[in-house]
Every structure is written in C-alpha cells, then in structure tokens.
C-alpha cells in the first residue's frame, strides 16, 4: 500500500462531498486568517520599533527637559524651563564619550505663510550640528550655518511637505516666508525623512536657527531637548550616569529629589514599544487561538459524522483488504488536507485583511515567511489533532458490522 494512493483516496473522498469539506474548512480559514493578521501586525509593530531605534540611532541619547517624558508624546501643560543651552554645551565639553550634541527648541502647530498660502507645521530651532547628529541635512540649498546662529539670522530650511504645500514644484529658495509676524528667507529644503515612528510626518517641519528661535519667536532662555551623539554605543549606562550626575550638579538638585530631565536610550525606546504592544499581542493571540480551537472542534465533529455516514464504505474497504492503518491514514489525510487547504486560504485572506487594516488604521503590518509557515503548520496540526479520534474510530470498525448498517 503506497502512501500516495491513500492520499489520492483521501482527496477523492473530499471531492465527493464538497459541501462537507467546505464547512470543515471554513472554521480553519477564519482561525488561520486571524493568526496571519495578528502575526503580521505583531511583526509590523516589531519592525516599527526597530525602525524607530534605527532612525533614532543606536549610538544616540535623547535628553529632554522635564521628568518622566516619553518619546513621541506631545508636551503638555507648563513648559519646562530647567534645561539650558549652557547645560548642553557643558555636557559636550565635560563628558568625553559625547561626540556631538544637537540642542533644539520645538514650537508645534505654528502657522507659516507664503503670499496667499499658509500651512500648519512644526517650527524647529536648531544648530548646524542638527544636520550631522540626525543625518538630516539640506537636499537643496543650504542648512542652518554658524553665521546664522551668531547673527540671529532670519533664515529657514523647509521640510519637503511644507515646500510642496506652499510652492508645489516651484523653487522656494530665496523666497520670503512669514512665521507669525517675522519674515524668514528660505535658504534650503531638507532631506526627506518620511513618517516618524509615532506616525507623524517628519517632513512637515520648518528649521530655523536656534538663537533666532529663542530670541525672536519663542522668546525663551531654555531649550526643549538635546539629541546626544555618542562616540560609541559601548558603556552607554556609564555615559548616561555621568550625564545625569553633571546635570543634577548644574541644576543643584538635592539628593533624593527626582531628576528634572529625562534621558532616553535606544534600549528604552525598544522596551517602551514592546510594553505597549505586548499586552495587546497576548490578547490577540488568545483570540486567534480560540477561533482556531473552534475551527478544530468543527473539523473533529464533521469528521465523526462523516465516519458514521461512511461506515459502509469503510466496511467495504476493509473487506477488500484495507489495513487498519490504511483507513486511519485515509481519514487523517482527509482532515489534514481540509485544514491545510483552509490554512492556505486563511493565510491569503489574512494577508489581504492585514493590508486592509494597514490602509485604514496606518498600523504597519508585515507579511513574512514566518506567518505563512505558522499558518500552514498550525492548520496541519489542527487537522491531525481533530482528525485523530475520528480516524481511530473508523480504523477500529469491523468489516461485517460496518457493512451491515
């Protein structure tokens, strides 16, 4: 008895009762589609975290004014005034592991006007080091220069989105842009950065000199954040500790009082994102598992009914010489073939579903060979588990008794 023959018998058996096969399949299709979607959303989220860390830089730290701040979360309430430009300069001078710093001040949601057009954007007061620390220089024209900082020049660099909104395909360099009541000369257009890990448009920004920002726009003597570029990713904990102690000393914080600043490391970024998606993932996996279980129960049920209905067939097969294991395999193959087919359909539907989900929610998804393999393996497992008991029952039938019914 060759396996290929039993396999053929199993497929013919399924073909002979298409409705039954379809009903068995549908639960598995739903279950596997759910698993595929969830895995792709999970992997998508994971990729987003990696991307976030990569964009941020593995050798970078973010220092923010205020305690307990998290990345990607908008500032709320009173502005924190504790972090100064002098702090940033001191860090660079005194801590050797720090290669460069990019202090900046952000004014979110500001209106910028060009002639009769206007758009809402984020204004970033930055130093020339921004370009190298963030790897974010000008694509056209020039970035903010040291002279701009020294002279409190009213110059700006547009993000590609702002440029497109206000100028379309026209050349913006040399034109005048108004921020509030202050006129700026456009000197450059920044490099495309795409969507931020938090989902915001990183190209919808206008960069101006930090000094101009502090004196003429925001009228502040403090800064929002400093991005710190380290010479190496090694000993990051040590570097973080020395930054912390230096700032505490400069801010004259008594022992026991909490920091009035927040340092975010790439590891913390990763952890944070995992914490958020972790609970969500467990819940989703549970839901997928339950639907798959329900699919398995349906398969087991219909297989049992099928075995009962086909007692005569089983009896005949045994009468003409089928061994116990031939019958056992026939029904196991039937169950597994149904669930595997359901699995493949489920993977396809799940992929489509994930793409639809992505389109509607902007939640990143990723279809990988892992999710396809998981779908196929899980669906076969469901088939084997669900088919085992019915197959055993079929194999145990005695030919004359089975044929008598």
């Amino acid at each position: 008895m060759k396996t290929s023959r039993v396999l053929k018998v199993a497929f013919k058996g399924l073909g002979r009762n298409k409705l039954r096969s379809f009903l068995m399949m549908i639960g598995v299709v739903i279950g596997i589609a759910a698993v595929t979607m969830i895995v792709s959303v999970g992997i998508g989220a994971q990729n987003r975290v990696l991307e976030r860390v990569k964009k941020f830089g593995l050798e970078s730290l973010m220092l923010r004014a205020g305690a307990g701040r998290e990345m990607g979360r908008p500032t709320s309430g009173q502005p924190v005034t504790t972090l100064t430009l002098e702090d940033a300069t001191a860090l660079k001078q005194e801590i050797r592991a720090i290669a460069d710093i990019a202090p900046f001040v952000v004014k979110g949601q500001a209106e910028v006007i060009y002639q009769d057009k206007s758009t809402t954007t984020g204004i970033f007061g930055v130093t020339p080091s921004w370009a190298s620390v963030w790897n974010w220089d000008a694509k056209e024209g020039e970035f903010i220069s040291d002279e701009d900082i020294a002279g409190l020049n009213r110059v700006c660099v547009l993000g590609p989105t702002v440029r497109k909104e206000l100028f379309g395909d026209a050349n913006p360099i040399g034109e005048q842009l108004r921020v509030g009541s202050v006129q700026f000369e456009i000197v450059g257009v920044s490099r495309e950065k795409g969507t931020s890990p938090a989902g915001g448009d990183m190209d919808n920004r206008v960069f101006i000199p930090l000094s101009t920002m502090m004196r003429r726009i925001a009228n502040v003597d403090y800064i929002s954040s400093v991005k710190i570029l380290l010479a190496t990713a090694e000993d990051m904990d040590k570097t973080v500790a020395s930054i912390q102690s230096l700032l505490r000393e400069r801010h004259q914080l008594a022992p026991g009082t909490p920091d009035d600043f927040t340092i975010t490391t790439p590891t913390e970024v990763t952890k944070m994102a995992e914490k958020v998606s972790g609970t969500f993932n467990i819940f989703l996996v549970l839901v997928a598992g339950i639907s798959l279980l329900a699919g398995g129960v349906v398969v087991a049920n219909i297989m049992l009914i099928s075995v009962n209905e086909r007692r005569k067939e089983i009896g005949l097969r045994k009468a003409v010489g089928a061994q116990r294991k031939d019958i056992m395999l026939q029904f196991l193959y039937e169950a597994t073939a149904v669930t595997m087919t359901g699995g493949v359909i489920g993977v396809v539907l799940g992929t489509i579903g994930a793409k639809i989900l992505e389109a509607f929610t902007q939640m990143p998804t990723s279809i990988s060979w892992q999710s396809v393999a998981l779908g196929v393996v899980l669906s076969s497992a469901v088939g084997i588990v669900a088919g085992l008991q019915p197959a055993k029952r079929a194999a145990a039938l005695q030919p004359i008794e089975a044929m008598r019914t």
Binding site: R16, E313, V320, Q323, M403
Partner: protein, 250 residues
C-alpha cells in the same frame, strides 16, 4: 500440490445472547471445497449461511474449529493478516453491490488493488471490466448503470485481484429475473474458465445453477450433494426472451 481451496473442520460460531444463553450461528461445520468448484450454500434466512460465508471469507473469526485457505491455517491470524488474506486470495460479491457512490466503475474496480502492492492497477481494472462485458462503461458512475451492470462492476472488482475463490452473498437478491440470469450466466462462464465460486442464497432455483449444493439449517449442514444437471443460465435467458417475444406476438 494442494487441490483444496478451503478445508474447514468443526467450525463453530457462538453468539452470546446477553445473559440468556448462547446461540450457535454455525455449529460444528466441516467441509472442503476444491479448486474449480461451483458451490451453492443454501438455507433460509437465519440458518447461519451468511455467518458461515463470513467465516470462510475471513471476514469473521470462528469461535472454534480450524480453517485452511489455500493450505494455510487462517483461524489464528490477526485482523491485519486476515485483511491481507482477503486482499490477495478472496473476492466478494454482495447483495447490495456495495459500490462507492459518485465513483466511476474503473475506480470502483481498482479499490482492492489500491490496498495491494500491484502497480498496474488501471490496466488490471480495465481488463476485469472487459471480462464482465463492461469495457464501454469504465467511466460511468454507479448511478448511471442498471442494477445488473452495477453487480457486474462488483464482480469485476472481485475478479481484479485474481483471487483463489469468489464468495457471492445473495448476488441476485436486488435484481429482476432477467438481470439475475445474466449474473448467473456470468458466474457459470467464470466457473468454466476455472474460477472457484461459492454462492450463498436462499433461493433454490438460483442455487441450482451451481454444480454442488450444500444446504444449511440451524447452523449445520443438512445435505451436501453434487448437482448432476445444473441449470444453464444462458438457455434460461433465451427461453425468457422467446417467451417475451411470443407474448408480444399474441
């Protein structure tokens, strides 16, 4: 060389009757069947003839006694070994045909070969169908065939493994008289070519086609005689046809 296909000695099959004693479905039966014989086992319903056939056909095991099939003792074999014996040495024809629905004649005939180690199953199945006169019906499903044709497919299925012996359990029970005669004619042809056939029936005129008639009652053999002048199914068929013709002419 062993000339006996079946050598049964003191076969007994007892069914317990749920605490109310026991029933002897087959009671101390001994018989021998030689190669090339055409034997009818005849008895009323409940006489034990079907149980006897099931035991002789290795579908059932005797409670006691010995059974040699083609010289090999089979009463002590396991279920799996019996399945192999049935596959290689025995062909079955059933009253209700027992063909797989929605499966064409060819695939129905291939069924026993699927469980054998033969590789040329389609060729063998086509030959078997041709030998029962259904070469032009190989791709028909049972639903598209007449009762007589369905039973011929079943006979082809029994023949396809070239078995030592064919057991036919009431093969004409579901057929009209003309189809019955066709089937009986086919069995006679097969027997003339040397096929060993055991026919189980409760109808005396069907049993009279065989060359030896064993009568069973209450699980015991009550007579075992050679039939000196078997009915010839082909003659009966032509008689039936001429009768129909003369009826129409009246």
């Amino acid at each position: 060389m062993n000339n006996h296909v079946i050598q049964a000695a003191n076969l007994t099959k007892i069914y317990s009757k749920g605490g109310k004693g026991e029933v002897y479905a087959v009671h101390d039966v001994s018989l021998e069947i030689r190669k090339g014989e055409y034997v009818a086992i005849m008895g009323a319903s409940g006489s034990g003839k079907s149980t006897l056939m099931n035991i002789l056909g290795c579908l059932d095991k005797p409670t006691s006694g010995s059974l040699k099939l083609d010289g090999v003792e089979v009463s002590t074999l396991t279920d799996e070994e019996l399945a192999t014996v049935r596959n290689r040495k025995i062909g079955f024809v059933f009253q209700s045909f027992n063909l797989l629905a929605r499966t064409n004649a060819l695939e129905n005939v291939e069924l026993p070969l699927i469980y054998s180690d033969r590789s040329d199953i389609t060729r063998l199945a086509r030959e078997a169908l041709a030998s029962v006169g259904l070469a032009d019906r190989v791709h028909h499903n049972p639903g598209e065939l007449s009762g007589g044709q369905q039973q011929r497919v079943a006979i082809a299925r029994a023949l396809v493994t070239d078995p030592e012996i064919i057991f036919a359990d009431e093969p004409t029970g579901n057929l009209d008289s003309k189809s019955s005669l066709e089937i009986m004619a086919l069995f006679q042809q097969l027997n003339e070519k040397g096929r060993t056939i055991v026919l189980v029936t409760h109808e005396a005129d069907i049993s009279e086609h065989a060359r030896r008639i064993i009568k069973i009652a209450d699980g015991k053999i009550i007579s075992d005689e050679l039939n000196q002048q078997p009915r010839v199914a082909e003659q009966e068929m032509s008689a039936l046809v001429s009768k129909e013709v003369s009826n129409e002419n009246k």
